[in-house]
Amino acid sequence: MTSTAIPIDPQTGVNLPGERVLIYHLRDVEKTREAEGTAFRLRVPSLQIALGEKIALIGESGCGKSTLLDMLSMTLRPSGIGSFRFRPARGAEPVDISDLWRKKQLNQLGDLRRLRIGYVMQTGGLLPYLTVRENINLSRRLLDMQDDSLVDELAGDLGIRRHLDKLPYMLSVGERQRVAIGRALAHRPSIVIADEPTASLDPIAAERIMSLFIELVDELHITVILASHAWRHINRLGLRHLEHHTHRESDGSMTETVVSG
């Protein structure tokens, strides 16, 4: 994996004019998972993601993509944190995520998620008892956002306008995935995190939905982090690849992935 070489200013916190704002700035963050005598460790010596960047995390199964995304989406507590700062907007103060985890302020993390982050899950994650429109609108509703035309525009762009008043079970898997993308974007989050959003689709549909997704994200100026193992068509979307190396002990007792970028 190679990273598209964009020079990154190691100084964060300061907001000089024209300077890139780092939405994520991680140093020495790691997560160790142990189960049944085998251990997996994900190490992030340094990771900087700028506002507006489009990041792809591509790698084989089990290398730790989901683990990293869960930490970035503040749902998984890292086992060791050097520093973890999150700055959701150009004008915003950076939030010290390591501090929130240490103080167990889970509700504050929840508030950050509600306000700043959108998710697209591998499968659906839609609420079966809400209509498509209500599902897309859920993230907005929780923020008391006034109705603007965004929900309808998104539905139009995603080609699901005629399904708006149906319940999710009446939709095909690909259509449900498009609804999920709609919900992740509807409240104009700072960042969208998508863990294999097209894994359950056939290659052609996957490619179409992926391009649509990236187009929409571009249009709305939303930062995106995408995990996938289908890297062939990802390459054509012009995303920055996060570099990582996986090292296995010969007896299989320990797997370690180091991510940096």
């Binding site: 989901s66 995304l69 869960d70 989406s73 749902t75 998984l76 889970l106 509700n107 929840g110 508030d111 998620r113 509600r114 306000l115 998710y119 899950m121 591998q122 499968t123 994650g125 839609l126 609420l127 079966p128 008892y129 809400l130 209500e134 859920l138 993230s139 509703r141 929780l142 008391d144 319940l167 863990d195």
Partner: protein, 403 residues
């Protein structure tokens, strides 16, 4: 913050409606426990209630009747009359001397009736006019029928005695001022002023009664004593203490205390039985609702974790199962109330002929419905506690992927 509880209310409601078959199943199974319980309580309350009402309303249950005869003077009677527990007391003359022959113009037969001394506030004449003078009487229903008279009619009374070896008869014209309720006195009788009863006794004893112009030996009976009295206590609960007090004075009495006790004991025992059934029923319902809510949380793990993922707080997620449980409680209670209303209507119709017009055999007060609702809500909330606790522990990351 409160507006997000509103969001949870909306989501829980939508889920509840979406899974309406499941919800209906819970509602019906609650109603199946609660409805019969309400009917059972309604029956207990209706039956025991109307028995108690009968007890309270029937003045005979407040009567304390001396057995045998004594010697009571008016001062003693007066002193009893002042006691708060005593509603009504009037002395009686010798029973054998307290009869009178009555004849009306509208019937051929002469009948002999018992005279019952009465006075203001006689419980047996609750709604009747009370005789105010020697010549006013209230006939028992049976006597009035035999004499074929109505209130306002004049009838003639006569008394006889053997005096100085001769048979004597005196006549007195009487006015029927009212007719007593059939239940007040079931034989031939006449409620009269005490003076008339005393006059009859005096006459039979050979004494003169100047007020009525009846001759005899000298009147002047200042130290008149009475062998008995009519006594009614203020409430059925005063019967026992008053009989005890009289017992201490050596006056043996008969009362209906035993009947009253039977009904009160029955009320208590039926209450115990009812609450046993109710507790078992509610406990079973709570357990089964709790278990299914718990299982529901597992079934909806993914959906609940999605809610966590989109930023609902732990304290708010708890409301999801709790609110759904509360929905079940409210709808189940409504259904049970409908069942109760339908069944009690039918039961009351079935028994209508056997009951007095005002009584119903199955009956609940609005309060009882409210208590049933509160109990059900309580049970439902308890049932949801474990499920809520479990829901609150769902991690947001669980929603990110399937197992």
């Amino acid at each position: 913050m409160p507006h997000r509880v509103k969001d949870i209310l909306w989501l829980a409601g939508r889920d509840y409606r979406n899974e309406w078959q499941m919800s209906a199943f819970f509602i019906v199974s609650l109603a199946a426990v609660l409805g019969p319980m309400m009917i059972l309580y309604g029956l207990k309350f209706g039956i025991v209630g109307s028995m108690l009402t009968n007890l309270i309303e029937d003045p005979r249950n407040r009567e304390v009747r001396p057995i045998g005869s004594g010697r009571y003077d008016s001062a003693w009677v007066e002193q009893l009359r002042n006691r708060e527990e005593i509603d009504f007391i009037v002395p009686r003359t010798r029973a054998i001397a307290a009869t009178i022959d009555l004849k009306s113009e509208t019937a051929s037969r002469i009948i002999s009736v018992e005279m019952i001394p009465t006075g203001q506030a006689d419980p047996l004449l609750k709604t009747q006019t009370i005789p105010q003078s020697l010549q006013q009487i209230v006939l028992s229903n049976k006597a009035a029928q035999k004499l074929n008279v109505k209130p306002g009619d004049e009838i003639s009374g006569s008394l006889s005695r053997r005096f100085k070896g001769r048979s004597e008869r005196v006549h007195i014209s009487l006015q029927v001022i009212d007719i007593a309720k059939p239940a007040s006195f079931t034989r031939d009788g006449a409620f009269t002023d005490l003076l008339l009863v005393e006059a009859a006794e005096d006459f039979r004893d050979g004494r003169a009664v100047s007020a009525l112009g009846w001759s005899g030996t000298a009147e002047g009976n200042d130290k008149r004593t009475y062998p008995s009295f009519r006594l009614y206590t203020s409430s059925i609960y005063d019967v026992a203490p008053i009989s005890e007090a009289l017992g201490k004075l050596g006056i043996e009495v008969s009362t209906r205390v035993a009947d009253i006790d039977i009904v009160r004991t029955m009320d208590r025992n039926l209450s115990v039985v009812f609450w046993l059934i109710a507790i078992i029923g509610l406990f079973g319902f709570t357990l089964s609702l709790g278990a299914s809510l718990w299982a529901n949380v597992d079934r909806k793990r993914k959906e609940l974790s999605v809610l966590r993922l989109v930023g609902f707080r732990t304290g708010e997620i708890v409301w999801f199962p709790v609110l759904q449980s509360v929905f079940t409680a409210i709808f189940g209670w409504l259904t049970a109330s409908m069942i109760y209303l339908g069944v009690s209507f039918t039961i009351n119709r079935l028994f209508a002929s056997q009951m007095d017009s005002s009584d119903s055999i199955c009956h609940l007060l609005p309060n009882h419905f409210l208590i049933a609702l509160i109990l059900t809500l309580g049970a439902a909330t308890i049932a949801a506690i474990l499920a809520g606790y479990r829901a609150a522990r769902i991690e947001p990351s669980e929603g990110l992927r399937d197992i």
